[in-house]
Symmetry: C2
Subunit: 345 residues, 2 copies
């Protein structure tokens, strides 16, 4: 039983079938020129008859646009990115754009490769949660052929729109909450210092300590790279300190998970032995114990905002040369059990 390979009918086939010229078919399809009712009907019928489908590649070559955007994220497995992607997709598709998704796995080198590829593919625009600044990214925005919107991670001195959140304030509030709950020795599982999120959350932590008059202690900050495994290792280090912290803040969801795993394996109870709070909310946070105290980001809004800004730049020739905008959204602290002061100590 062999399969038939039908060749794809093209516009000339339609023209032939409808007994009109190629140009007329094109005009009918794109409504780029008036076509009489009669011939339009003939063309429609011919299209269905021969099974014609528009060839987006040929169209793109001619028009110079692809109706395609590139979406570059650091970790497609992370719920934060996942819901942002979903929102972006939704808006993009509603406006006729497809999205080519790329994942750097937090590796700037991989990101470079993907960015090159996306440029080759002639995407009309680009949304990037960068894994770290690279020449490719910089030249992409400087060439200015396709507008770029940064999300989550901002890059200073890069002339591109960005949608981020107020990391310093959010972290300061969360750590402040831990302090208000009676903790003085507070550990931090930090993120990459090469990323704005990593730096800003670190800064928020220090600010909270400073405001409470607590001396900073470098032994209390474990470094991780926003991954579950390195969060786990960093947590283990903190937990094996002779004078171990009574509370720990994790700088993103994954390292928070790693922290909880470490706690569980060490047989430590949360919040009784160690209180916990972390960045990024979980859908299941309410239904499982300990119920985690989290900093919830407006993830969906980030995606919608970014895609909306990108659409503006792509559609308006004029909007292209407007100065870059930095949109900073606010996060929200969800206080739950994992940071609750122990009833009796």
């Amino acid at each position: 039983m062999s399969k038939r390979f039908e060749k794809r009918p093209k516009m000339t086939d339609v023209a032939k079938a409808a007994k009109v010229s190629l140009a007329t078919v094109s005009a009918a399809i794109n409504q780029s020129a008036p076509v009489s009712e009669k011939t339009r009907a003939r063309i429609d019928k011919a299209i269905r008859r021969v099974g014609y489908k528009t060839n987006a590649i040929a169209r793109s070559l001619k028009t110079g646009t692809t109706s395609t955007i590139g979406l570059m994220v650091a970790d497609i497995t992370n719920p934060f990115f996942t819901t942002a992607i979903h929102a972006i997709q939704e808006v993009a598709h509603r406006h006729g754009y497809s999205v080519i998704l790329c994942c750097s796995d937090e590796d700037p080198e991989k990101e470079r490769t993907h960015l090159r590829l996306l440029a080759d593919r002639m995407v009309d625009g680009l949304i990037v949660a960068t894994a770290g600044e690279t020449p490719e990214l910089r030249s992409l925005v400087e060439r200015g052929r396709a507008p770029v919107v940064l999300i989550d991670r901002h890059i200073d001195g890069l002339d591109a729109d960005a949608v981020v959140i107020d990391n310093v304030a959010a972290t300061r509030d969360a750590v402040g909450h831990l302090i208000a709950s009676g903790h003085r020795r507070i550990g931090l599982i930090a993120g990459r210092r090469t990323l704005s999120t990593g730096r800003e959350r670190y800064e928020g932590y220090r600010r909270a300590l400073r405001e409470a008059g607590i001396a900073f202690e470098s032994a209390l900050v474990g470094s991780a790279h926003f991954g579950a495994d390195d969060g786990y290792h960093a947590a283990n280090k903190l937990l094996s300190l002779k004078d171990r912290p009574t509370a720990i803040f994790a700088c993103n969801n994954l390292s928070g998970l790693g922290l909880m795993r470490a706690l569980h394996e060490a047989g430590l109870r949360c919040p009784d032995d160690v209180a916990v709070a972390c960045f990024d909310d979980f859908e299941w946070a309410e239904a499982f114990h300990p119920r985690l105290t989290t900093v919830a980001q407006p993830t969906q809004a980030i995606g919608v905002q970014a895609m909306t800004m990108l659409l503006e730049r792509m559609r308006d020739e004029a909007a292209r040369s407007l100065p870059a905008r930095l949109v900073r959204l606010k996060a929200h602290l969800n206080v739950r059990d994992s940071s609750r002061p122990p009833a009796r100590r």
Copy 2:
């Protein structure tokens, strides 16, 4: 401060700069014909000098291939799909393919639209976790222009490769485990019956009951659509039964989450009041309570397998006409606390 819009240099620009012909540049770039060391060096230099980047659109029009595959999933927010996507991406990219990601949100209508778009974009192949059979999908595989691999959800009578798991056996084992733990009234939060996964898991549930000589009771099966919210509602119905089940099996991760939320809000303890098991594993299942008993799918393997099969079909002209293959992987039952028989009753 206005941005410069540099126009994209093309191959003729390189040819001019290197003082060779267009064809030679092409030959040098694609290594499709021998080019002398000297001129190759000149061309390389010229490429860097003018900043030439290959135009994948023009190349695609000429060659008839795009090095692009379409990936159609039902829910990009679901960790199951997310890790499959990640694996697919990884393999695809290693072989020079980009992936256009589409999300149907479990809506067959949306899926149709996306499939049309993907066909227009001339993808070389397609991996689909379908939201339900549609004419578009069928005609896509029947036209046979681009090979299609189904994942997770199989469609009977569709002549396309598929990678799925043994849902009947997996569910039978999980529900069997619940029975072995002493439960006789076991609720089911089922999935869409329009999908093979929904049907097969339902079948596995019935088989487990039958094998244990337990009478099937339709009041004990709640219907959901693989979403967290409808899982939640279905769970509420089961829990408010006068003679409520002592155990419940949820047919996927999201409805399992909904179930746990319902349990939590009803103030019921798991496993003491209601034991729980569900399809799909969670990364955090070990570290939070109740530790969920789950059916872990080889998610990554599904993705790798699917992409590998797709590559074969795309590369070998010969492989195109081979009969469709159905690969059925096995799942693994992780017994944890949520299904543990209560120590004292």
